[in-house]
């Protein structure tokens, strides 16, 4: 009878929604994978799951701190705290990465997916070195990454808020924090892996044609998988109350 309570149904829906936000976020983050680590592709030189989860988890820390120390914190404020933490992490990472691309490897930043940067209007195709798929982190990729991190952090904050409301009456505070934190991390990982299949390991961001091609399918898949995660979170809570 647990699942038919309207509040619980709302909670499941919100977890589904937040998981979808995390999945959507991954598509915005310019991830170049192994080729980018050798400056042979545009974007950040690591995998989608690593980066999305890494930035989302920093957002989780800031969101949880906000939740713990601001009794009046509502959902938007906790989500914004998560978004801020994630954005700071990803912006710092991309900035330091740019330092390496610029002064360590010495390559100009260029996107292989667009002729001109939609934000700055700079020509991209002339700056792609021979035998590569672009390199570095041009402004459009940086901005797209920051937007993605904000979505991911906000999604993480939302899951955490919902789960804390769910577990707080059933567990001691320390245990509720731990269970909600670990479950949030799990939902983030699940929703970071789903888009990896769609984007095939690399994507430049919102301007990449791949974005429009796969984002719809990935988001729908992620919504249903996250609903399943939400259902699991509620079932676990049912076990706690016994």
């Amino acid at each position: 009878m647990v699942a038919i309570d309207p509040t619980l149904l709302t909670n499941i829906f919100l977890i589904g929604l937040s998981g979808t936000l995390v999945c959507l976020a991954v598509h915005f983050i310019p991830v170049g994978g192994a080729p980018a680590a050798m400056a042979q592709a545009t974007g950040i030189g690591t995998g989608t799951v690593e980066l999305a989860a890494g930035s989302g988890l920093v957002g989780l820390i800031t969101a949880s701190y906000m939740y713990a120390y601001e009794p009046l914190a509502d959902i938007p404020l906790v989500m914004a705290a998560g978004a801020m933490g994630s954005m700071v992490m990803l912006a710092s990472t991309m900035f330091a990465g740019s330092l390496i691309y610029a002064y360590g490897v010495a390559v100009p930043f260029a996107s292989a997916q667009v002729k001109k940067d939609p934000i700055t209007g700079d020509r991209q195709d002339l700056y792609i070195s021979k035998g590569t798929q672009g390199q570095g982190i041009p402004t459009i990729c940086f901005v797209s990454g920051v937007v993605g991190a904000a979505l991911g952090g906000a999604g993480g904050g939302l899951i955490y808020f919902v789960l804390m409301d769910l577990y707080k009456p059933l567990l001691s505070m320390t245990s509720a924090f731990a269970v909600a934190g670990v479950f949030t991390m799990g939902v983030m990982y699940v929703n970071s892996v789903i888009p990896s299949y769609g984007v095939g390991g690399t994507i430049e961001g919102v301007h990449d044609p791949k974005f429009r091609r796969v984002v719809g399918k990935d988001v729908i898949t992620s919504f249903f998988v996250s609903i399943l995660c939400g259902l699991l979170a509620v079932l676990i809570a049912g076990g706690m109350s016994v």
Partner: protein, 300 residues
């Protein structure tokens, strides 16, 4: 807020410093053990006929292996703290055990990876294993120490809701993600292909053709970490230091309000502008690599 503003800022500065050291040492550990994406070239080299003396571990993705060693460190520290150990002693012992376990994984991983390349005649150098493994453990120990210390301060002093092992796990995963995104590019994009002209770009046709000769003799992983410590490591440290400092600085100064969130967004905007300045600078310095078609025609 648990502490007053001055103490909060002092603690935040300490966290930033610890994070900077942790970030730097994490990247150097991944360079000396050759982990993450650039290791694909080390793995590929023997298949292209380029036998080498570089350590080859890649236990897993960098965030996961660092998260593993950090969470082991955090768990052991928590157990020792519950047994009334002095905090510094507990953190040191915890960090050491986490590093030793990573070292065990490093040896099995190196031996296993090289064994799988028998058909390409890649030898397993015992001297490389003997003196590179303690270097890996040493670097990882310092990273673990810093991360567990950050987790301890956040939990015990600042009153973060998560426990020490969980905070250590999150920071371990984050530092791995940052190291993999920042410092590894210096190792993979520059050090492994250092015989190419600086600023010419890296053709994919060069895959696997890594540099095998050192400044003196044959290159090994200790030579690589010496080079990456000059730029890749410190840049990774800066990234993690900025992350730890600036993710908490707005709320420390302005409390848990929308103003703090606005300041966070402002910091991100400043970083975006700085990235743009680097982009402009580097576009002037290198490239363009191709000429525009009508320009070519005009010249003809």
């Amino acid at each position: 807020m648990v502490l007053d503003l001055t103490m909060s800022m002092a603690v935040l500065a300490l966290l930033g410093a610890l994070a900077t050291i942790a970030g730097c040492l994490e990247d150097l550990e991944s360079d000396v053990g050759s982990q993450s994406n650039p290791n694909s070239q080390v793995q590929l080299a023997p298949q292209m006929g380029f036998l080498h003396r570089i350590f080859n571990k890649a236990i897993s993705g960098e965030p996961i292996s660092n998260g593993m060693s950090a969470v082991i460190g955090g768990t052991v520290t928590t157990v020792l703290l519950s047994q009334k150990f002095y905090p510094l002693t507990a953190i040191v012992i915890g960090a050491f055990i986490g590093a030793i376990i990573l070292g065990i994984f490093a040896t099995t991983s190196y031996a296993g990876r090289v064994a799988s390349q028998t058909r390409f005649k890649q030898p397993l150098y015992m001297d490389i294993m003997r003196y590179t493994t303690p270097t890996i453990i040493g670097h990882n120990f310092i990273m673990n120490f810093c991360l567990v210390a950050i987790a301890y301060i956040q939990f015990e002093v600042l009153g973060y809701p998560f426990t020490i092992p969980f905070l250590a796990l999150i920071w371990g995963i984050s530092v791995g993600a940052i190291g993999s995104s920042v410092g590894d590019v210096h190792y993979g994009g520059e050090r492994e292909f250092q015989n190419r002209e600086f600023g010419c770009g890296l053709n994919t046709a060069l895959s696997g053709r890594i540099v095998r000769k050192a400044e003196s003799g044959l290159r090994n992983s200790i030579d690589n970490v010496w080079f990456c410590a000059k730029f890749g490591g410190p840049a990774t440290g800066i990234a993690l230091g900025l992350t730890v400092f600036f993710s908490s600085w707005p709320t420390t100064l302005f409390g848990y309000t929308w103003t703090a969130i606005g300041i966070g967004v402002l910091i991100v905007a400043v970083l975006t502008i700085m990235n743009r300045l680097i982009e402009l600078n580097v576009r002037h310095a290198y490239g363009p690599y191709k000429e525009e078609k009508n320009e070519k025609e005009a010249k003809a």
